[in-house]
Amino acid sequence: MNMNQPQAGAQHPLKASKPRRGKLARSEDRAGYIFILPWLIGFFGITLLPLLFSLYGSFTNYDITSQMDFIGLANYERMFSSDPLFWKSLSNTIYYVLWMVPLTTIGSVLLALLLNERVAGMRMFRTIFYLPSVLSGVGVYFLWMQLLNPSTGLVNTLLSWVGIAGPAWLTDPFWTKPAVIFMKMWAVGGGMLLYLASLQSVPPQLYEAARLDGASALRRFRHITLPMISPVIFYDVVTSLIGGFQVFQEGYVMTESGGGGPMHSLLFYNLHMWHKAFTVFDMGYAMAMAWVLFVVVMILTALNLKLSKRWVHYEGGDS
């Protein structure tokens, strides 16, 4: 009995606090909700509802205009068992992601390291290297189609100076994906900016101490720089992985009538999905494809998060 007494006493102020929240707290609540209202409307109206709709739609033969009958797992079954283009487009996309993510990450880290040196005119170099990532959209792809032109394009002209006969980048199915991946390298400036910021926040005394201990430049990079910028690398890898799976425009713009190029070598997952949805109105199937992609990306991201514990170093400990 006696033991319970203080507990009850401790509960009392809590209970009492309730009425004290009163009008002010409630109007604060309300104000808070009103402030986040735009986001709530956006989330519920144009994210969650369509998301749930597409989940349901993926179990139907929905064609936008005439039918939406429940057909169970038929779309998924068809996808895995009898759509050769599903596998083709998935493998194209995975190939693209597997090359594009590491290459752009390494590319932007190296670029950031170079641009972190103290050299006269560095600001100008930084601007120049960042510039391409400001441009986006279809115009850039047209520009690259000219650059990659097998006989008059700048890329093959440069290669010819060192005695290499460049391939027909966009018409030879062996070279189309490397061409697109190569093209992606031109926009590493965006990632570079993040790394540059992160590099500049590495405390100089760490390098100083290492130098006193006789650590070589390579070791300083391996044991100081890399761990210190690892959170940014992690962020970059995760976002470009997700972005990589959404590759669409490259295949749509750079191939003849958006068909996916020679031997479907640029038929990316989203392009195949788009064709299913909007050229043959197989919307239910396209929705099912979207969910499969969602699951694939989610698993990979979860895996990334799990693996990140082994190599990502957070200065303030795990947060």
């Binding site: 709530l40 009898s82 020679p262 043959v280």
Partner: protein, 435 residues
């Protein structure tokens, strides 16, 4: 209590959303009423926004508006490609255009998906069916009912550079008639400078003909499917055609072919007009590009060469129709406009200004038009022109055929293997769709 309060707050966005949704309704209702002077306004969607085409279609619309006092047609231009997705979305939202120009090859596809309006009742009222070429009319039917009205069509012919013919010692009045002759002439027309070609006589996949059309040309005018959905993918004639196309790559060098092709442009940088290629297959309207950009060219036209003598100069064609999207607000007025659009005057005007094959037979064979030899050839070529159509169950079947043929052309597999594989894939697709 706590949870309850949250749910209440969460209701706000839902309610607001509802408000926004109902707020849209009066606006919609407004647009569907007649305008102040009692005229009904209808919305007409086309993708004709170019400098050449826009004034032509707008002149036709203005003529129609002036010709009567009940209907006003408003022209909405939407870019090619965009127009189909917007049409689809507007049909789904139950607020579509009243008339739209759409692809002739997939009228039945859209009919099966309730995207366009059945026109039987209107046709009983005014029977305009006899205005049009029979082959075009076939393409607007779904289960024997019409869902669209043909507007224009096209066909592909062989254009050849007479000057180049003379230079190569060929008779400029005797174009190649068979595949063998085509190849023989092409070799004579090739001009090689070291490793680079200054002029190539011909390549089957340049221009506007494409693999599908060659396979059709080889196979007695049969595409991959006929109108009864019989499949003709892996046929001996088609296998031969793939091998024949590959032989051009082998002779000219795939690298040269790719390199040249990547540079092709249109208008003055079109390789036929700029003299890089001596024979070129294109639609009838290509003549206007030659007229405008190839000032001193001497050009002849001929039907597509046939595989062997007597196998037929088959060509492929497409075209567009006018149709009423499903759920359009003013179908009666839309019908009146479609009738005008496909009648003699409008069709002749379109043909004269655009040099385009029109669907109306009488307008197409107008003496004024036929006085032009190229136009005349294009009209005559319609006789041997097949219009592609895809089975409703597998509208995208060609996606399974092209990569196999690509692979055969690259020499990865034989033509037989390619077409056999394509046929198996398409069969399995049909089976799956039938489930």
């Amino acid at each position: 209590m706590q949870i309850h309060k949250h749910t209440k707050t969460l209701l706000i966005p839902v309610l607001l959303f509802g408000l926004a949704a109902t707020g849209c309704t009066p606006k919609q209702a407004e647009s569907s009423t007649a305008s102040a002077d009692g005229k009904v306004e209808i919305d007409f969607w086309t993708f004709w926004g170019s400098e050449t085409r826009r004034p032509i279609i707008e002149k036709i619309i203005n003529d129609f508006n002036a010709s009567q006092d009940k209907i006003i047609v408003k022209h909405t231009y939407l870019p090619w490609g965009d127009i189909w997705t917007k049409n689809l979305a507007s049909i789904a939202a139950k607020n579509p255009a009243d008339v739209i120009i759409n692809d002739i090859a997939s009228v039945d596809q859209r009919a099966s998906k309730k995207q366009n309006t059945e026109l039987t009742a209107y046709l009983e009222q005014d029977n305009i069916q006899d205005r049009f070429y029979e082959s075009l009319w076939d393409n607007v039917l779904y289960e024997d009912k019409a869902y669209a009205i043909p507007f224009n069509t096209d066909t592909r012919m062989l254009y050849y550079n007479k000057k180049a013919f003379r230079e190569a010692g060929l008779d400029p009045e005797k174009p190649p008639a068979t595949w063998a002759e085509l190849e023989e002439y092409a070799i004579k027309l090739d001009k090689k400078n070291g490793n680079v070609y200054d002029q190539v006589g011909f390549h089957p996949l340049w221009g506007d003909f494409g693999i599908d059309n060659w396979l059709l040309n080889a196979d007695g005018g049969k595409g991959f499917f006929d109108n009864d959905n019989n499949m003709y993918i892996n046929t001996p004639a088609k296998v031969e055609a793939v091998n024949w196309i590959k032989s051009w790559n082998d002779r000219l060098g795939k690298k040269n072919v790719d390199a040249m092709q990547a540079e092709f442009g249109s208008e003055q940088s079109n390789p036929f007009i700029s003299g890089k290629v001596a024979m070129w297959i294109h639609q009838g309207t290509f003549a206007t590009q030659i007229r405008d950009y190839g000032k001193d060219m001497e050009v002849g036209v001929a039907p597509i060469p046939e595989k062997t003598e007597g196998s037929g100069h088959y060509s492929g064609g497409g075209g567009f129709v006018a149709e009423i999207p499903y759920g359009a607000k003013h179908p009666d007025e839309a019908w009146e406009f479609i009738k005008y659009l496909t009648d003699y005057d409008a069709q002749k005007y379109w043909a004269v200004k655009n040099f385009d094959n029109v669907a109306n037979k009488e307008a197409a064979s107008d003496p004024e038009l036929l006085s032009d030899p190229i136009y005349k050839a294009a009209v005559e070529n319609l006789e041997v022109t097949t219009h592609f159509r895809a089975p409703i169950a597998v509208p995208d079947f060609k996606n399974l055929i092209t990569p196999q043929i690509d692979s055969a052309l690259l020499g990865n597999i034989t033509a037989e293997e390619a077409l056999a594989k394509a046929e198996t894939d398409v069969k399995s697709m049909i089976q799956q769709a039938g489930k």
